[in-house]
């Protein structure tokens, strides 16, 4: 591997890490407040991609596609939270099983509607093509994903640390009953966080559609990546999601370049190692 290839592989890894962060941050956010391990998160991602694809074909506007994917999934997530998840609130295992059931149905409906082929989302015209960056020629879109991920990260950090809503969310993570006793509507906060997580999943589905295409099975793959990210980084921790995304993004990128046959092994090796040494992840703990 030459110096240039090394740099390019690193760059690709970082841009993939950006996408991973968009997916995993919503996943970890939902878990930290609601204690729900939402295994339908990958399916939310997939539906975001499909909604974006349809909107793009209908309107030709990439921005609208992104918005539709994000808001459509956020709306669907909100409805599911209201109708299904709320009924088993607090029963962790049942919540997980429900999310599994929902993801099975939603993924199957997507298959019925859109077929089994991989459909690609074209990048927006402004971000098509490549750009030279310090002697390295990189696709503009991938660069934009890194920038977007950093912005989302800053946005989430500000939301959680600097705003009243963030203070309520953090308080809910620490002591939900106390918050309830203080007269705050914890359910509504939890629902809002769930919708925010779904929104991020939907938006990343559109972005991921440009990276890899939208196809049946993308949901399970992305869920798996998100799981590895949060296990490595630490579930329920925003910093953990950042660290996990970068680690997994780079490992994946170098794995593809060096040992494609053993890719999964390369990916899971670090995860198993982290689990044995630190079962709660590198930065496991709280938001």
């Amino acid at each position: 591997m030459s110096g240039g290839e090394l740099l390019l592989t690193t760059f690709n890894g970082l841009s993939f890490a950006g996408l991973l962060f968009l997916v995993a941050s919503g996943f970890t956010l939902i878990f930290s407040l609601m204690g729900v391990l939402n295994l339908a998160h990958g399916t939310f991602y997939l539906w975001g991609g499909y909604i974006g694809l349809v909107t793009l074909a209908a309107t030709g506007s990439w921005l609208l596609a992104l918005l539709a994917g994000a808001l459509g999934v956020a709306l669907g997530g909100g409805v599911l939270e209201r109708l299904v998840f709320r009924r088993v609130r607090g029963m962790e295992l049942n919540e997980v099983l429900l999310s599994v059931g929902i993801s099975l149905v939603l993924a199957d409906l997507a298959l019925a509607q859109f077929g089994g082929d991989s459909l690609t989302i074209a990048p927006p015209a402004a971000l098509a093509g490549s750009i030279e960056l310090g002697g390295l020629v990189v696709p503009r879109f991938r660069l934009a994903v890194i920038v977007a991920a950093v912005l989302v990260m800053i946005g989430l950090a500000v939301l959680l640390r600097r705003t009243r809503v963030g203070a309520i969310i953090r308080a809910g993570v620490d002591d939900e009953e106390m918050l309830d006793a203080l007269g705050l509507n914890v359910r509504r906060v939890a629902a809002a966080v769930f919708v925010l997580g779904a929104l991020l999943a939907g938006a990343s589905g559109v972005v991921g559609g440009v990276f890899f295409g939208v196809y049946p099975g993308a949901d399970a793959e992305m869920l798996l990546f998100a799981l590895v990210v949060v296990v490595v980084g630490g579930l329920g921790s925003l910093h953990g999601a950042v660290v996990g995304s970068v680690v997994v993004g780079l490992v994946y990128s170098f794995g593809v370049a060096l040992a494609p046959d053993l890719l999964y092994f390369v990916l899971f090796g670090p995860m198993l190692l982290v689990l044995v040494v630190r079962p709660r992840g590198i930065l496991g703990g709280r938001l």
């Binding site: 299904v84 962790e92 199957d108 798996l224 999964y264 689990l275």
Partner: protein
């Protein structure tokens, strides 16, 4: 007649009825019956973790597929016969189970579920990608059966006999000191620790027993099906196994076996009509969680036998929270 005698007689009648199946239905449904019996073995094995251990694994398809692949490869590459290749496969599966277990047993609840899910997907990924070994998407040729027992109905009897033996062994395990320790760890890990037992150690034992049984089922599956493909290891298969346990009822010893039979037959019937089996499975899962969390057998038992004790003792269980949370 005591409850116990009635249960024993009921099970014997069921086994005899199952053994007579080839005289009643044709080859297709005996095939489905064979599959159901294989899945029943997986389900009662998985229930060692879910029911006895209180640990939900969503990675058992990985162990099942690992065993089936190992059987197939031992037969194709090393030219071994059914029994020898089966023993090799069970050994391999036990080793892989040990790796799964080392990663998972220090956790419970959500973390356990997540780790087993990821570990199971690892097997799927390897089966999928490591094509020089596994044949990739095309799968690996299997279907070798024990000599003299190759006809479809003979093989069905073999599988049924193994199911009975495995069920008896697991029944004995459940009542053995080791099984009691697994159950005690489920109910209160803290008390087990204060008694000088390692909770992780008990979970490790439960995982190994569960993995060994799943390995046995994987060997039988390799004999039943002409090809082992990556889809055997897929997440949806792990979910199906888990659903069998939960829909059947994890609190009743043979509940998971009932779930396995019901779901296998249902899958065959639904798949003949429509390609939307996954939707049906998802709806069943949601319905079971919302309306019958005790599963089929648990619900039936509660209906048939109103509790004699008006104020039944409530099992004292520590709240199962994910480690690292709160």
């Amino acid at each position: 007649m005591s409850d116990r005698n009635r249960n024993v007689i009921g099970v014997v009648v069921l086994v005899v009825a199952a053994a007579l199946l080839p005289y009643i239905v044709g080859e297709y449904w005996v095939g489905i019956g064979t599959e159901a019996a294989i899945f029943a073995i997986v389900a009662i094995g998985l229930n060692v973790l879910i029911g006895l251990g209180g640990l939900v694994s969503v990675g058992h398809a990985g162990l099942f597929a690992a065993s089936a692949y190992a059987t197939s490869l031992a037969q194709q590459r090393l030219d071994l016969d059914f029994v020898t290749s089966g023993l090799v496969a069970i050994t391999v599966t036990l080793l892989i189970t040990a790796v799964f277990a080392v990663a998972a047993v220090r956790t419970t609840g959500m973390y356990f579920l997540m780790i087993t899910l990821a570990a199971g997907m690892l097997v799927w990924g390897l089966a999928h990608r490591w094509s020089s070994l596994t044949g990739g998407e095309n799968g690996s040729v299997s279907g070798v059966r024990p000599g003299g027992l190759t006809r479809y109905y003979q093989y069905y009897w073999v599988v049924l006999a193994v199911l009975v033996v495995v069920a008896l062994l697991l029944w004995a395990f459940q009542r053995s000191p080791a099984g009691m320790r697994v159950r005690a760890t489920r109910d209160s890990a803290a008390r087990m620790t204060s008694l000088g037992y390692s909770p992780a150690g008990q979970r490790f034992v439960a995982f190994l027993v569960s993995g060994a049984v799943t390995g046995v089922a994987g060997v039988l599956y390799a004999g039943y099906y002409p090809v082992v493909s990556p889809s055997t290891a897929h997440l949806s298969m792990s979910i199906l196994f888990m659903l069998m346990v939960i829909a059947g009822g994890s609190a009743v010893f043979l509940g998971p076996a009932v779930g396995a039979v019901v779901l296998t037959v249902l899958r065959a019937a639904v798949s003949a009509e429509t390609a939307r089996w996954a939707t049906v499975m998802g709806v069943i899962l949601v319905a079971v969680v919302l309306f019958a969390p005790e599963g089929i057998t648990g619900t039936v038992r509660d209906r048939l036998r109103p509790r004699r004790d008006p104020d039944p003792p409530v099992a004292v269980r520590e709240p199962v929270t994910a480690q690292g949370q709160r």
